[in-house]
Every structure is written in C-alpha cells, then in structure tokens.
C-alpha cells in the first residue's frame, strides 16, 4: 500500500527535522555502488523495473555472501530522467562515507553524455548498457566507458539483418521501404546515420519520423507512415509513453504488428499492455531471452521474496526491464570478480574495475554458472573493444508474454566498428584527447 509509504515518509521527515538519527560508521570492506535511477517523472514506468532488477541482484549477491566476501552497499538517487538532475545526483552520490563508487550506470543517454567527461576525470567507470554514446565503445579514446553487450548502431544492423531474413535474404531488401519512428532526443537520433548507411548498402528506401517528447500525439506520424508511405517494415526507437501510443496509432492505421519492430527500450510489458489486444504480434529486439525461467530468477524469488510470487511480481520480477537491470548487475559483478582475481579479494576502484571489464570473458557456460542458462549468449571485451560481440535476438509479444522468435543474430560489427572509430576520433580531436595505445 502506497499510503503506508507516504505516512512513513511523513514520519521520516518529521523525525529528520528533529535530527534524531545519525548514520553509524561502517567497518568491513564494502563495495559502494552509486545508483542513478528514476522512479518518478514521465519515464518512471520504465525506470522502476530496471532499478528493481538491479537492486534485487545486488541484494541476492549480498545474500550469497557478497563478491568474494566483499559486501555491496549502494545509494539511490532519483534523476527523473532529467539530465541536469542526473548530473547533480552523480556529484552528490559518487562518494559516500569516504567511499568512491567504482562504476556508475547513468540509465539515460542524455545523462551518459553529460557524465562521460566528469566520470573520466573522477576515475569512475561508466557502464551504459545498451544506451549512451555509441562511439564510446572505442576503448582507445574512452578508456573508462563500456557499452557492452551492444550499442544502438549494432542493434540497427541486427534489426536490418532480421528484416533481411524475413524477406528472404539481404539482397531482397533492395527496393523495400523501412521507416524509423524515433524519440526526438539524443537517444532517438543515435541510430539514424547507421540506418542511412545501411540503406545505401542494401538499397532499401529509408524514411525517418521524429516524435516530440513525450510522444502523446502521433496521429500525423502514423497517418503518414501507414497511409502514405506504406513501408514494408517500421522500426521504432521509442521510450516511455511514446511506445504504447505508437502501437495504438499503428493499429489504428492497420499497420501489421509483425512488421513493426521496436528496439530494446521499446520492448517491455509497459509498452504492450496498455494498448491491449492491439499489440499482439509486435516485435522488439533484445540481447537476452525474455521470461523468468532461469535458476537465478528462482533463486531471487526464493531468497528475497521467500517464494511469494505475488510480491515478486509486484516488484516487476521477471519483466523485460527487470531482467535488464538484473543482467546489468550481473555484468558489473562479473567485472568486479575479474578485477579481484588480479588485485585481490577486496573492493575495487574505477581503473581496477575497468581492467575487469576489459578482461571479461562471459561465455554461455559462465552465464549458466551464474544461474542464467539459455538466457544470454556471450560478452568478451578487450582494451580497444568496449562493446564486445554479443548477438541479439528478436522477441514478440503474444498478448501475455514476450517470446523469442528468431535465432541469435550477430550485428554487422564489420560495418559499424569503422564508424565508431571515426566518431571517437572526431570527439578526441574536439576535446584534445590523445588516444591510448592498445596491445
């Protein structure tokens, strides 16, 4: 009951004002994690499950005895998906009780952009998992930014590959029409240049359709797409209420749902539930298999919720975005473990965890060991490659759950990597950075 929380908050405030409580000092070695989350504001429906998944994974790790004996502590700060607030949050919680965070997840492309310089100066790693500045996958220019397992640009190539396989081969793409509907912000604009390059390479016709924040009104967009351009496929880079509205409007112009593919931020239950029946058949990309079938899910359910499935579901357990937060947590803990192998079983700092990321080799077996069998493929990074070569999968909404409908698709890394390099070099030149050498 939310009312209880309200009263709790009110009491808390009252207690706070009278100044009763004092934080007690901590003794044991702990790994501090500053968490930039958003549980309020227009994008809260997407931010809440992600944050829940992440925190649940950390709690689960602590319940297992921590990371090689090092317990995790964390502090949340609510950014409201607002860049200025996010920057303030970062500055506020990057250090707590004298402990500096080693890694930060900005959870918004805009905030990532704003933090790249600051975090580099502070020696804190940014892990922007599947969002943020794509060019930052180049480890020579951005030693402390990681985009694993995949970037927007890779995702665009993978989605195009999927469309190619649907129409019967990449050569059949010639003359087809693909439209991109995107959130008119830094986030939504990321894949445009990739799609333009792809359209040149495969000879399909590409049109793009911006939707202004927050995306409440899309009738004109969809009339143009559905009744005038009539593309063979529509790809969407949407977020928040924009996604469900797009699905509704697409249904209103009778655009076939199975040819409407969202990116992985337009792939959650929040997007497909509000439109009801209209969204059956809608597809979206992902880098893991949706569902709550893994051993890890069962362990979390048992360990943290005492087997109370209703309570777990209320906390978004097993939802697409919950899983993403969980995977994010798993990758970071894995990086920490790799770093501990070299630096000893203690808490690690930014450069140490960056070493952990760069030497990470998460194979399918490793994921299975972590309780995530058949959940994700693999992540292997290096000093220069901060993205890795993880394959993606296309999922489909069947009215109740998301189901995988494709094989694992390897993005066209050969095509996007030179583009990363070019963008990273442009950045390095603008900022006067000398790229480091990688072996």
């Amino acid at each position: 009951m939310k009312l209880k929380k309200l009263i709790l908050a009110a009491v808390g405030m009252a207690v706070g004002i009278t100044g009763l409580t004092v934080a007690e000092p901590v003794q044991a070695d702990e790994q501090y994690m500053p968490l930039l989350v958003y549980r309020s504001g227009p994008y809260a429906p997407g931010g809440i499950p992600y944050a829940n998944g992440l925190v649940d994974y950390f709690k689960y790790v602590n319940a297992q005895g921590g990371v090689n004996g090092v317990k995790l502590t964390w502090e949340e700060c609510d950014t409201g998906y607002n860049t200025a607030r996010g920057v303030e949050c970062y500055e506020r919680i990057k250090i707590k009780d004298g402990k500096k965070g080693a890694v930060v997840m900005p959870l918004s492309t805009g905030i990532t952009y704003a933090l790249i310089e600051r975090a580099a100066k502070d020696g804190i790693v940014i892990h922007s998992m599947g969002y943020g500045r794509t060019a930052a996958s180049d480890g020579t220019v951005f030693p402390l930014v990681f985009t694993a397992p995949a970037t927007y640009w890779s995702q665009a190539t993978a989605i195009t590959k999927y469309i190619g396989s649907e129409v019967g081969g990449m050569d059949k793409l010639k003359g087809k029409k693909i439209s991109l509907v995107y959130h008119d912000s830094a986030y939504g604009k990321e894949p445009i240049n990739t799609f333009i390059a792809l359209s040149k390479k495969y000879g399909f016709k590409f049109t793009k359709h911006p939707v202004a924040h927050p995306g409440l009104e899309q009738k004109a967009t969809w009339l143009t797409i559905g009744r005038k351009i009539r593309p063979d496929y529509v790809v969407m880079w949407g977020w928040g209420v924009m996604n469900s509205t797009a699905i509704k409007e697409a249904a209103a112009v009778k655009f076939p749902m199975d040819r409407f593919i969202g990116n992985w931020w337009a792939a959650s239950e929040n997007d497909t539930r509000p439109p009801g029946k209209a969204s059956i058949g809608y597809k979206a990309a992902s880098f893991y298999v949706p569902g709550n079938f893994t051993k890890l899910h069962a362990d979390i359910l048992k360990g943290l919720y005492g087997g109370d499935k209703a309570a777990a579901l209320k906390n978004n357990w097993g939802e697409v975005l919950y899983n993403r937060g969980m995977v994010n947590g798993a990758i970071i803990i894995e990086a920490m473990k790799v770093a501990q192998k070299k630096f000893g079983n203690r808490s690690v700092n930014g450069t140490e965890i960056a070493y952990g990321f760069e030497n990470m080799d998460m194979t399918e077996e490793r994921f299975a060991e972590l309780g995530m069998k058949d959940f994700m493929k693999s992540i292997k990074l290096s000093c220069a490659d901060h993205e890795g070569t993880s394959p993606l999968i296309i999922t489909q909404w069947d009215g109740n759950t998301w189901k995988p409908v494709s094989d694992w698709i390897m993005p066209d890394h050969a095509m996007v990597r030179p583009m990363y390099k070019e963008a990273a070099m442009k950045y390095a030149k603008e900022k006067g950075i000398t790229p480091r050498k990688c072996m």
Partner: protein, 311 residues
Amino acid sequence: MEFLHAMTIGPIVEIIEYPTFFMEVLIGGLLTGVMYSLVALGFVLIFKASGVFNFAQGAMVLFAALTFVGLMEHGLPMWAALIATVAVMIALAYAIERLVLGKLVNQEPIILFMATLGIAFFLDGFGQTIWGSDVKPLDVGIPSDAIDVGGVLINWFDITAAVVAGLMVAVLAIFFQKTRIGRALRAVADDHQAALSVGIPLKTIWMVVWSVAGIVGLVAGVMWGSKLGVQFTLSLIALKALPVLMIGGFTSIPGAIIGGLIVGAGEKVAEVFWGPAVGGAIEDWFAYMLAMAFLVFRPQGLFGDKIIERV
C-alpha cells in the same frame, strides 16, 4: 529551390493528387482536436468564472484519471469508482477554495496563476504517492477498431471522443443557460462586485466552478487515459490545450471546441504535408505559431470577450 518547392507547390500538388488521404488527415486532425478541447474546456470554465488561469487543469486531469483507475484496481465496480472520483474532485475543489483561493482574494492574476502551478505540483506528487507511477491501462469499453468510409479510415475511439465532447458542451451550455447556478456563474463572470451585491455567494460559486472543472477533467482523463494508459505524462496534455485556448478565447466554451478543431486539423495537415520538408515533428510549435498568428489579428481569441481598456 528544391526546398522552396517542397514548402510551396509540393504539398498542394500532393493534396490535390490524393484527396482521400487529405480527407483522412483532416478528419483525423479534427477528431484529435476534439480531444484537446476536452482539456481546454476545464481551463475555460475556471477562467470564465473567476479570472484564474488554472494551470493545474492538466494535473487535475491526471489526478482524476489516477483516482478513477486506482479505485477500480482496488476492486470497485466502474460506476462506484466514477461516483467516488466525482466526490473526490468535489472535495478537491472545496479544499482548493478553502486553502488556496480563499486566501488569495484580490491578488493579481499572475499570483493566482502561480498558485495554480503550485497546486499542479502538489497534485502530481500527491497522486503518484498514493497511486504509484506505473502505467495503468484503462478500459471503459470504448471500441478502438477502425472503419473504412469511402477509402477514409476513421477510428471508433475518436468518434466516441467527439460525441462525448459534444455532449459535454451541450450539458455545460444547458447548465450555464438554464439553471439557477449557471446564471449565477455568468453573473459572477461578468462582474464580481455586482454579483456579490445582488446576493450571489461568491465562495460557493467558485467551489461549484472548480468542481465542474474537476468533473470535466475526469471526463478528459478517462478519454485520454483509455487512449494512452493512465500515467504521469497525462498532466502534460495541458500544453496541448493552451493553443486551443488562445484561438478560441479564454472565456468561450464554444470557442474551446472551435479552437480545438482548428488546432487539431491545422497541426496534423501541417505535419503530414509540410513537416517532411523541414524534418518533421513540427506539430508542437505549429499549433502555437498558428495561435499566435490568430492573436495578432484578434488579441482576445476568436470568441473571447472584447478587451476594453480604460486609463
């Protein structure tokens, strides 16, 4: 040159070439405009009766919809939830009159405007604290299938919205013209002092107006909520209602409907036919620019009361 063509001749040729598509866009726009009018009506009611530019109308729409859905989620049947929400909105109106407006009598309009912004903040936070900020699907049984009328695709949902808006305007018109309270409201709108002196209880009247605006907000919230799902962004549709108000005039109920139609049709046609030439997503500012252009010729809006200034 190419750009000039895309801005001038291109769209006109396209409209003539595909008349059914143009009709579709136009009708779609008009029907969307009606949805804007639903929100704009609440603004008009309050401005008309008390001269307050109530920016909290958007937040009231959200709050009403959240309460309605939240109560339904707690197992109340729809009719009971509806009645309970109406009661909540009336209580809210009472609280606003008592705690805010009653204390700000005789203040400048901008101060009252700011106070409503404060109310908006409060309601946004309060609604979310109680009901949470996740998306709540709302299904009140409005069909959403599209029908084909001579090659023009029309959505049942939009038609329903139009009918609801029409009904609401009719009810409000009857309320204002025929009932005793309605006449009192008009008297207050004309002249506070004179209304007071003939014995119209100002406080009660304001409370009634805010209650009615709250109920109008509930209707708008239910319509928008079943279109988009009920969540925080609903309070932002207030921004879509503002150009409607400017065109229609802050004080005219039919103006809100006509303004809605103009804005809806204008922005959709502009977006579809002129948008691609400049990169799209022009809807938002186009509505405001259109409204500004109207105002330069008629500073009080199409149906607004004539502005008379005395030194």
